[in-house]
Amino acid sequence: MTRIRLNGKEIDADKDRPLIAAALANGVDVPHYCYHSGLTPVGSCRMCQVEVTEGERPARVVAACRTPVSEGMQVETQTPAAQAARRECLEFLLKNHPLDCAICDKAGECQLQDYTYAEGQSEGLSAEPRRKLDKRRSLGEVILLDQERCILCSRCVRFFEEVEGQAQLTIAGRGANSTIQTFAGRDLSGNYQGNVADLCPVGALTLKSFRFQARVWNLTKRASTCGECSRGCAISVEVLRQGQVKRIRPRYEALVNRWWMCDTGRFAFEGATLSGRLEGAQLRGYSGLEDCSTSEALAAVATGFAVHTNHVFIASPWLTVEEGRDLVELAQAVGAVLRMVSPEESGLADKILNTGDPCPNRRGLADVGIESASAPECLQLCTGAETATLVGERVVNLVGREALSEHDGKSRLFVFDTQALDAARVAVQVGVASWVERSGTWVNADGHESPIAAARSAPAGVCGTQGLLDDLRALVATCAPGSVSR
């Protein structure tokens, strides 16, 4: 650690990291484009200029991202010289920028826009025509490049080289003719392409899936955890007014995913807004499954527990630790066998983030005492028991939708899933909230606890799993075995 003076305040700075890292860590925003904590600093945008005084040497303006800290260094970010240097830098960056903020998806979270408001001038000096380049170049299925907006910070180039481990982008051309290109015009590949849209400080690299979908200031952002694998990347779930999830982005979490996430997780929101939701509850009557109230459905389930013996509970790996704990208590009260259905490896495992295990809370559920079982084992348990209760989103699909529909065992199925199961053996089914609609805790493969948060409300008539389980347990307590006749 090195002591330096930053804007008149003594701070400790890591001597192995550049000056800008110390400033950012201490809450002093130094405008920057090419610098990113997760990438090698290149010092090319020249935006992070600050004034530095060392010993007897006269004050000088330096790029904070390429300046090492030294003991006793005095740093001022807001002197006239530093501000002028950054203002001049913006003048150059904006010279050929199209200023099409009105139709740019990045507007509202664009660093060029933000710093121009904060430090730039309202009128540019340039009388030259702006450079005309390709405004919509597809770089594959995920990313679209607008070359006119690009400020050539090379973050995206370095991301593929340093994080993904394989160079996929490069700067082609020289000087004012430089553009970002893929090698030989090939499409981007791999499961991490979406990250470059987050990294891009301007609107040059955007997600095709987010193109013209929402203005970012209309998005409500909730910190949550990705449910696509057992890594449990920290994410921000971003919801538009009507409750549609428009985007999922990684959140910085030092112990888990740092700044990144894979595209499998990023685009999981397309599944989170799935159609065909089971809204409300259904109970089997004389003419098949009939709509009923949730309390009627739960009463029927409790009755089922009381009049039958030999129960099986199958938990979804998406259940939270809190839900898991409730389910364990309920299983004990009923005397049921409880297993978490464990799907096969996704085949998406890589050396970066994705673990290939699609169960976000395997570890958390194991910690509360729920053992895992493969889908065939779960199916066998279900068909062999008198009642089988399937709890949590995607549980039916994981055990096997078709196998459950076709099974000719005698067991009654009580289903608590997001989607309906249309099968003869279903006695009761209740719609439950998905992982973007409820709150709780997941524990990732390394034992790191992270919160999931309701980013939007569940459809009308759909209840949270935990509430359902609580109600069910209360009912089970009142309906002791044998107290209800068949």
């Binding site: 600093p41 290149v42 010092g43 090319s44 945008c45 020249r46 935006m47 200029q49 000088r60 303006v61 790029a63 390429r66 090492p68 240097a85 001049e88 830098c89 003048e91 150059f92 960056l93 010279k95 050929n96 000096l125 340039s126 009388a127 030259e128 400020i151 050539l152 700067i171 051309g173 020289r174 000087g175 004012a176 003719n177 430089s178």
Partner: protein
């Protein structure tokens, strides 16, 4: 004109000057022999070069011996180390290294070997400008010849010192003459200059300690070792010692590369060496050391050509390549041509340089074509101030900004005349003259 002592071009132009036999015949490889057979220690060689006061001839004028001493102590740092000779001579107006490599390649090889010995280096890379085919071929032939004679490779002259010299051909980018851009290029990457620190002596070629020297700097070394630091220190001026190769071009009677003691007044070089302004015309403007140094007006032509004096009048000694413009030349047109060069050669990393060099070019072109405004002149100055000094990774932005500021400082009248007359006054005069003649 008194006859100064010459050594740099002693052999140049002689029949077979590029061959080992002629080089040997005129005392070649004597300095290397002195180093290896005496034997001198590494520290002795470095201190001899330091005492001589040799300043780098590549443009910055940094003391060569001091640069060598920045290499890490070999006992504390056992990493592999390299020496790179910058022969990517691309500065407009500069053509001195070409002469040395073409006419006296063994002189460079001997210098490389002595420098490599002093810094405990066993691999030297010579990065030659791609267009220099003949110098490249001659240098390569000389290396082969020297290797056959046991002067390059293992156990040189039977000593414990081994050193290999590799050649590399540039591909035509000016920016690869910047030392860190050169190293990137040598590593097979795009020639993007690296931010400093770290400096090459710590993290250079392939991340190893590296020293980068100019051809002419290295060429001086055998003479210093052979004839001694005191001999060298007698030549030139107090602060800039030795002779230098002045490539003088432009509107002069005898353009060419001349060996001149440092400190010789620019007027003497112009008049006595280059035969004065051609066609009996008068001097309008001159660049002291290549296109990146600020344009100067005629009244400063008596300034001694050496680093500190030229710096004192607001320009730079650079590579010592004087470019002379006569009275018929338009400084705005000259600035436009230079701005186009820097626009074309900017690597594009730094915002100011990428956009600024293009911008300067656009404005100069507009003014020269007669469409400029007073606002354009003000903007030229603002832009140049925004680009330099030291605001970018390397000095290319400075190189574009310095001549711009210089032309505004010394030749603003001409810029204003372009704006007011709506055309280039010199072209207008010619046109009017033709009209009158008709």
């Amino acid at each position: 004109m008194s006859a100064p002592e010459l050594y740099l071009l002693e052999r140049a132009g002689r029949e077979g000057s590029e061959t080992l036999s002629v080089y040997h015949g005129s005392g070649g490889y004597k300095a290397l022999e002195k180093v290896l057979k005496t034997p001198l220690t590494q520290a002795e060689v470095i201190s001899e070069v330091r005492e001589a006061g040799l300043r780098g001839r590549g443009g910055a004028g940094f003391p060569t011996g001091l640069k060598w001493s920045f290499m890490p102590d070999h006992e504390k740092d056992s990493r592999k180390r390299y020496m790179v000779v910058n022969a990517d001579e691309s500065e407009p107006g500069t053509c001195k290294d070409r002469v040395l490599m073409r006419e006296d390649p063994h002189g460079l090889i001997e210098g490389c070997l002595i420098a490599a010995f002093a810094m405990r280096i066993d691999a030297v890379y010579i990065y030659v400008r791609g267009e220099y085919r003949k110098p490249y071929n001659r240098l390569q032939a000389a290396i082969d010849e020297a290797r056959a004679a046991g002067l390059v490779g293992d156990a040189i002259m039977g000593s414990e010192f081994s050193c290999e010299i590799h050649m590399h051909k540039g591909a035509g980018a000016y920016i690869c003459g910047e030392e860190t851009g050169l190293m990137e290029s040598l590593e097979g990457k795009r020639g993007h200059p690296r931010p400093k620190p770290p400096f090459p002596a710590g993290v250079g070629l392939w991340g190893q300690p590296t020293t980068v020297n100019n051809v002419e700097s290295i060429f001086n070394v055998p003479f210093i070792i052979d004839r001694g630091a005191t001999w060298f220190a007698r030549l030139g001026s107090e602060e800039s010692r030795g002779n230098f190769l002045c490539g003088i071009s432009g509107h002069v009677e005898r353009p060419g590369v001349y060996e001149v003691p440092l400190g010789t007044p620019a007027r003497e070089i112009l008049e006595d060496y280059a035969g004065g302004i051609w066609k009996g015309r008068s001097l309008k403007a001159w660049f002291p050391g290549g296109s990146s140094t600020g344009l100067l007006p005629p009244d400063l032509i008596d300034t001694p050509m050496e680093h500190d004096s030229i710096k004192a009048i607001g320009s730079m000694f650079g590579t010592g390549a004087m470019i002379i413009l006569d009275e018929t030349a338009c400084t705005v047109r000259a600035s436009e041509v230079l701005a186009r060069f820097y626009d074309h050669e900017s690597c594009g990393q730094c915002s100011q340089c990428r956009e600024g060099t293009e911008w300067l070019h656009q404005i100069f072109r507009r003014i020269e074509e007669g469409g400029g405004s007073m606002e354009d002149i003000a903007n030229l100055e603002r832009l140049a101030m925004g680009m330099a000094p030291g605001k970018t990774i390397c000095a290319l932005a400075d190189a574009a900004a310095i001549p711009t500021l210089a032309v505004i400082k010394h030749f603003k009248n001409e810029l204003v005349a372009h704006v007011e007359q709506g055309c280039c006054p010199l072209k207008a005069n010619t046109a009017r003259a033709q009209e009158v003649r008709v």
